[in-house]
Symmetry: C2
Subunit: 477 residues, 2 copies
């Protein structure tokens, strides 16, 4: 499953891995960085085996998931009703997003086109090798850039003989997955630009990338920007949420960059997915300013809100799924990727869930509405946590069956250190979709590459930037 | 000549330059580095204008220079006579190289093929826009990797609108030179592998790269290695001079890598060009061990020695040139690139040179045989320096007319700092040539891209790694 190589060879392998990473943008800024000094992004030494069937399954369902979430957004009334309730449980963020959406509606939402740049995350269930969905991400999905590069890294190390004491190939080339996410995600943004311009190839309109200040994962983003300019001749401009009112303006709802008077076709959010990204009321005003512009938002507020955990839970109900996807085969493919997810409300199902949470907590993870790692409650921590909350707040959480993935013995390289601990992996599949709320039509719908992230089996959270996990690549088995 | 941009725009430009550099291997290790943490290589903010005619002139003469130096090496007796004398003036290095060559002759030099990977360096004379040769490098020529990338950097910054307040193109795309040196130098190594294998495309033989310990400019080298494996499927192995006897062995003169028993087709030296690269007698034995192997050396000892300053001086004599190149047109093209270079010996020319050195030193630079920056004596320092030497050592130096290049106001970026001082630039043209000493035939002869390095006008030396200069690119004017 993994190469057995001598200590000497491993040292040479690690040196070559470092060189390749640094020379090929597999880098990240360390905390408190200087602009000119990055470090290697944490990566695995070897690609991690994922069953061919599971990987294919993930690829197959992606355009169905893209469609499902687009349909939900197009079914505005239904979605808004759920979000409205949810807003009460997470006033600081879901609530603010929803409020901003309501204000935008009042002012007028002028752009009917919506662009989804999505990533569906799975673990592979070890008993049956089926993928099980962890979450569906609808905003600021990351690592599409680094993923391609790490696939190339592992391919290089294999080709160059570093995975074998005798300098031979260890993996078959066709088993190594090199994600085409750089190409495909850039193409998604290109599609946005193309349809903003009524189906013409306009290189004068630009992409506005909303970024966090002091972003450490900037190279992952830049890889898409480099692809956009080199392949399509489309420029991009990076601004923070708080710079929007000083750096852009609107005229007849059309969004422009002040410094150059360039028209903005797509606003691509790599920020705005957490309350920390809004430091003041002005930032929320800026978000509203963008939402009511004619630029296509990737994503718009409703699309972002459709990624709520609560929605994910509701969609495990097949009857509801059928309202959005008419095709039984599609529905069956999706439901195979679902684990049980329960509400913690007054319904029969909710009551059952509350019993589970207290009686068999070891089978579950409790997830709040809030995005991002670090907020989940695992297993035996669940009862005490729930008891510490007022009961009327329980409905802000969902209870999700744990997935049991294969535990493997890959190695993680971080800052030249080799960590040799059992790891588990999370497979992400990217997708892009462009849809029109005026005609309720889907215009483009694409599978856009993959991502494998791995983390120590002992760590419950897997954020790569936070230092708990790393970027990996898939070797099919 | 250079874009005039606002302070805001310049800040954005520098941030984008940093990001692009770091994501595209325009990096170098800082002193006392950690393997996982490089810094931006110093680069210019803008490409530097070079006259189209001068650039073309450099390209045109490269294959002629390649041929000239190959012919010199093939004219072994002639070359050896000069080197023998020279060896006396630089016993520690030229002397040791020569001694090693003599030992190799005694043991037997079995590989008739020689591979030259050369770089001819020029400045453009400002009065007539003609290139004037500074030196011809026959060993361990560097920056072919970074040069391609810096050309791409400046093209990216132009394409993406960073060179204009209005986000417009500042340069015409066709004026920006992106050196194809990565592709072409790797092709030179490929050619070596191909002809080692009697004109067959053997991917099983490998390239041995002789490197310095703690090389800071490793990414420049790795870019060629990555190209070799990805384009040709040819592996390379990095070893230091002192590791050769533990990591390689010979059988019937054929050189093999111990760990994998792989046959080595080409030994590519990115070390061994200075006495510091030989730390012990064992290192010299290792150099001899390689020279007497069947692998093609890039370069072999005679080829390396042909790069002596003394040879460069001798070749300014047209009568001697004619012995190596029969074609008057070729000779005329070369001589146009020469400045006056004088010996400091007992000849009539030498006596004249000694008068110049003391009477008009401001027109000259005094160069010792020794390679590498930092050893040259400039202008008014020359008389005192010569007086401090025994007269019989003067012949170890050459006296070279200074070249007066255009001084321009580009900016140099190093570690996020902007240096805004007058700079001068040095144009390097790469070439590769494969020749056969048994048939005296030249097998391949190619122009292999270009390099522009710039330095503060006030600094006499221009080593990029040493921190005095930086990698630039050419915009034709």
């Amino acid at each position: 499953m993994f190469p057995a190589i001598s200590a000497d060879k491993e040292q040479e392998l690690i040196e070559s891995l470092n060189h390749y990473c640094l020379a090929n943008s597999i880098i990240i800024y360390p905390p408190n960085f200087q602009n000119y000094q990055p470090v290697n992004a944490p990566v695995t030494l070897f690609p991690t085996p994922i069953s061919r069937g599971a990987f294919k399954q993930g690829e197959e369902v992606q355009t169905i998931f893209n469609e499902l979430y687009a349909r939900i957004v197009l079914e505005e009334e239904w979605l808004v009703k759920i979000i409205e309730e949810l807003a009460g449980f997470d006033r600081d963020f879901t609530g603010k997003l929803y409020e901003t959406y309501l204000k935008a509606k009042e002012i007028g939402i002028v752009q009917p086109l919506g662009l989804g740049i999505f990533r569906s995350d799975y673990m592979v269930n070890k008993t049956d090798n089926q993928i099980k969905q962890i979450e569906f991400n609808t905003v600021s999905v990351s690592f599409g850039g680094l993923s391609t590069k790490v696939g190339q890294l592992h391919k290089f190390l294999n080709d160059a003989g570093y995975y074998s004491n005798e300098s031979k190939l260890f993996y078959k080339d066709e088993d190594l997955v090199v994600s085409d996410s750089i190409v495909k995600l850039a193409q998604g943004l290109y599609d946005g630009n193309f349809y903003y311009n009524k189906g013409t190839d306009n290189k004068k309109t630009i992409i506005l990338v909303i970024v966090q200040e002091n972003e450490r994962n900037v190279f992952d983003q830049r890889l898409l920007e480099f692809e956009l300019i080199s392949k399509y001749g489309i420029k991009s401009k990076r601004v923070t949420m708080s710079d929007i009112h000083t750096k852009t303006f609107k005229k007849d709802n059309i969004l422009y960059l002040k410094e150059s008077n360039e028209e903005i076709s797509v606003v691509y959010f790599r920020s705005g997915y957490s309350p920390n990204d809004f430091k003041s009321d002005k930032d929320w005003e800026n978000r509203l300013f963008l939402e009511t512009s004619y630029a296509i938002k990737a994503p718009n507020l409703l699309t972002q809100l459709s990624g709520a955990k609560k929605i994910q839970q509701i969609l495990t109900n097949e009857t509801i799924l059928k309202e959005f996807l008419k095709d039984d085969e599609k529905i069956s493919k999706l439901t195979k990727t679902f684990v049980k997810i329960y509400p913690l409300d007054g319904s029969e199902l909710g009551k059952q869930a509350i019993r589970y949470a207290f009686e068999q907590p070891d089978k579950f993870v409790l997830k709040p509405q809030r995005e991002g790692g670090g907020n989940n409650i695992y297993k035996s921590d669940i009862p005490n946590f729930l008891n510490s909350l007022p009961k009327d707040e329980w409905n802000g959480y969902i209870l999700m069956e744990l997935i049991y993935p294969e535990i493997v013995h890959n190695k993680i390289i971080r800052n030249d250190q080799v960590f040799n601990e059992p790891i588990i992996s999370e497979l992400g599949i990217f997708g892009t979709i462009l849809f029109d709320s005026s005609t309720k039509q889907i215009i483009t719908n694409n599978l856009s590459g993959s991502l494998l992230r791995s983390k120590f089996e002992t760590s419950n959270e897997g954020g790569v930037a936070a230092g708990f996990g790393c970027v990996d690549s898939v070797v099919l088995c």
